[in-house]
């Protein structure tokens, strides 16, 4: 019985190890494990970090992704701090980055302004985007993707977050969940035994120690026979 169970674990460890050796080539790190596996892991829908409306489109961030009306727009670490309509498009801001999109929600260009501090808020003035960074205001030139400090900003209209209804939040959560658990992660957990919390790790450790002992004792016996 012990021999058979060791064989099963040895087979599992070897097979998962073989596949993991080629995980990159097989694209396993980018392949989502699917809803059934996510349920097994007890993964819940990620919350929406922040949502803003601009020009009739709802922009939201969740799990390092930015969405436009529920469709993935871009990967962007950090949560959205604002979205404003400007001449010719929409400007979105996270703490460290600006994203310019078309009015239809397509990404035109992204830009990380080199400023001292994080972007705290985004607003608009006379059809142009204004950033608030450390109590200073900067005007964005969306054509040149450059910022210039504003001495005395006037008629500023700051972007305010909106509350999403449960259906919108669920749609975005579902889209953000897509990358939560990859097949590579599942295989690593199988390989290490972590697929069975606590017990699985111990079984993997014991199997490994038994194999180490077999290797060493086999070598010792071989030397003795010589």
């Amino acid at each position: 019985m012990f021999a058979i169970s060791s064989l099963v674990f040895l087979f599992l460890i070897s097979l998962t190890g073989l596949i993991l050796n080629h995980a990159d080539a097989l694209g396993l790190s980018r392949a989502s494990a699917g809803p059934a596996i996510l349920r097994l892991y007890g993964v819940e829908l990620p919350p929406v970090d922040a949502a803003f409306e601009a020009d009739g489109i709802v922009y939201a961030s969740s799990s390092g992704l930015v969405f436009a009306n529920g469709n993935e727009l871009a990967q962007a670490p950090g949560k959205l701090v604002g979205a404003v309509a400007v001449e010719g498009g929409v400007v979105l801001a996270t703490g460290s980055e600006l994203l310019v999109t078309t009015r239809a929600g397509h990404l035109v260009e992204r830009f990380s302004p080199e400023l001292e501090g994080r972007i705290a808020r985004l607003g608009s003035s006379a059809g142009q985007a204004v950033l608030a960074v450390n109590n200073r205001s900067f005007l964005l030139d969306a054509e040149r993707m450059a910022v210039a400090e504003l001495a005395a900003p006037q008629d500023l209209d700051w972007s305010m977050p909106v509350e999403l209804d449960s259906e919108q939040a669920a749609q975005i959560g579902q889209a953000a969940l897509g990358n939560a658990i990859s097949w590579e992660r599942v295989l690593v957990d199988l390989h290490s035994g972590r697929i069975l919390p606590t017990v699985g790790t111990w079984i993997a450790d014991i199997t490994a120690l038994c194999l180490i002992y077999l290797c060493i004792s086999g070598a010792v016996l071989w030397f003795r026979r010589r």
């Binding site: 990159d24 790190s29 980018r30 871009a74 990967q75 670490p77 078309t102 397509h106 990404l107 035109v108 260009e109 992204r110 990380s112 080199e114 040149r144 993707m145 990358n179 180490i212 002992y213 060493i216 004792s217 010792v220």
Partner: protein
Amino acid sequence: MLTPARILACWALLAALLPGVDAGAADKHGQYLTRAEFLEEAFGTAQPESAVIWFDDELREMASAILGHPPTALRLRYWKGDAKTAWIIDEIGKEQPITFGVVIANGVIESLSVLQFRESRGWEIRYPFFTRQFEAVQLTESGALNRRIDGISGATLSVKAASRVAKLALALDEFTTPKEKN
């Protein structure tokens, strides 16, 4: 005498010590070069104004063939001056984008740099021992790089991302710098 029990004890001791060895190598992501620093390296104090290239259908198809996916944005900014072009391009390594800077002169890569690295593995590509391989590289007639780029163990996807970016920058440079016909 060397008994199996003593040998096993030595192994256990080694196994307990080894996990600490690589601890310092983890988590090397960060910003290595700002845009301003990259442009200063490329053009010195006389930095040109930026220009943009819009991905129309033809360019989008070309970029998709090089990258293996469509460009993520509708336009790409570049700088042109002093008979050179400089490109800042984001490309995903394993899961997160890597920001590369490429300087091209006369259709040949002058330098390739890693401006920002966001992943926990593969950051070794930022070092000159890797990026120097791209110096003097150009495109062949078939659109491939004319030199084989040596990989780094454990950074395969980052290395491939760098190669794709190099190819794209050279192709876009060719597009923005039409050759004079004799």
